[in-house]
Amino acid sequence: MAPTLEERTTRDQIRRNWWLSLPALAILTVAAIGPLLVVLVYSFLTPGEYGNVEWKFSTEGWTSVFVTKDIFDETWKLADAHMTIFWRSVKLSLITTGLTLLVGFPTAWFIATREPRAKALWLFLITIPFWTNLLIRTFAINQIIRTEGLLNTGLLKLGIISTPLQITYTDTAVLIGMVYVYLPLMVLPLFASIDRFDMRLLEAGYDLYASRAQVLRRVILPLVKPGIVAGSILVFIPCLGAYVTPRILGGGKLMMIGNFIELQFGQGRNWPLGAAISILLLIIVSIALVFYVRAINGENRDA
């Protein structure tokens, strides 16, 4: 259909007023693209002896992400340690996303089905953790799960366990921490989706012979999918780059990509490698975002 006069006028107006976005563009260029370019350039330089970089072109930063040279026989081997860290990051991020979805969905459903005033209160409660520093919250989690912490003391007192559980400095600890930290990011978009869901469709589903499970799968999930996708992306991406949580609850040994990058810029004194991994992380996140946009567009095309 040809654009109407109104549509054409609106479009012309938008085109004429492009200069209004100049300040935003300037800030984005300097503050977002600038540093990224620096990181990209650094990834192709040679590491300096005491950190920093020497202005000499090298691809070693990138190759050493994937392969390492054996110090004895000088053969190239796959960088197992790096791959382990990448894999752990992706794995923990996926599990965290899954767990927050599992916990967040009933939570969001509960909030969305309350009275309007109760709804506002519950949403407010969900956002309370944002008011406290992440570092402090993570230490607080540590107080709960450490050997002499609340959880172990409680379980011991109740006689459920006889020896304290070793949770800190394990993947489980990192998972608990990340699920706790990122849960609100899952609940909020899920809530937005479920809140828009027409509850009368449930009755229509039951009336047409669907069981509860079928109503969930055939009616609820397809309609709240945008919320699930948005929540999953919002949890998965920061999880992948998580630094504080694995640093404190993983004890620095069970590294994720974030900690590994920090190591290269700190003790490792290998800035090009750190820069290369940073860019790699960015690429992984971008791929995840492409999937997200695809899913959302698919949704709109269907609707």
């Binding site: 047409l208 012979y209 055939r218 269907d302």
Partner: protein, 353 residues
Amino acid sequence: MTENAAIEARNVSKHFGQGDGVVRALDDVSVAIRQGEFFTLLGPSGCGKTTLLRMIAGFESPTSGEIRLNGEPITHLPPNKRPVNTVFQSYALFPHLSVAQNIAFGLEMLGKPRAEIDARVQKMLALVRLEQLAGRKVSQMSGGQQQRVALARALAPQPKVLLLDEPLSALDLKLRKEMQSELKRLQRETGITFIFVTHDQEEALTMSDRIAVMSAGRIQQMGTPREIYTQPVNRFVAGFIGETNFLSAEVRDGQATLPGGITLPVRARNGQTTLAVRPELMRIVAAGTPAALPATVADAVYFGTDSHVHARLADGAEVVVRVQSGADGASIPAAGSAVGLAIAPGALQVLED
């Protein structure tokens, strides 16, 4: 009566709350709806008609009483186990599915084979005349089209009983008229028992085989549209269905003394009683005519096909008389003039009150 009932409610009550604050949404309602009948539950909002419908659908369970489908008790069966489908007031179509997918939903849940589902969907699309729009998203359709999809979706699984919860209330007048005859046609063609809920008395009169008029959680009267209109049993039914004039009368030995002193024969017990008479069953005659109510014309409103003449009786009560417009432009008595109101034989209805 009970053997061939498609749906039977026996002494069904539904109470919300407890103690003094108890709300009786349904108060000891018994009704038997026959196989293949177009049955209407008619009443103002809050009269319990929707509650009764939702109970038959399985969305609510009665506080006491029993619901039977073809003689089998279904009182505590969940909605997805009842061979009963609903057309919702809001239609409640699945927005993520196409027209055909919406219609197929119930059949898929019943686990019918694909070929059978496809054939049935085609048949339903033809039945509601939407063959061209099978692949369309329901969100892109007009209200009338959505209504047809909702009907097709509810009819597709061939329910024993189709429940319709004020399905026409969201449509404009012209479309509503169209859908009324469409619904009648669908009911004739499918032979399915329809239970129709509405607050629109005209809709109920034109479409139903039988009507149950409900108020305050009780069935006030049950019968054919003609029975309900011509022989209302109480003030509520008489007032809710069509326009009615109420006359207070003193009855003695089969003779009712009406305002103005005239007497007419009625079949009622002795004492003070209320009589009802429809506006179209009274005629304006010359003042002083025997057996005509003396009255004074207060006002007349012209409606095209007829005029409504408002007249005041001797006791001060106001009544309305409908005067059909004649080809000659029959004259309407001027305001303030004294007239007589002749009542057609048998037009006086004694109300239980």
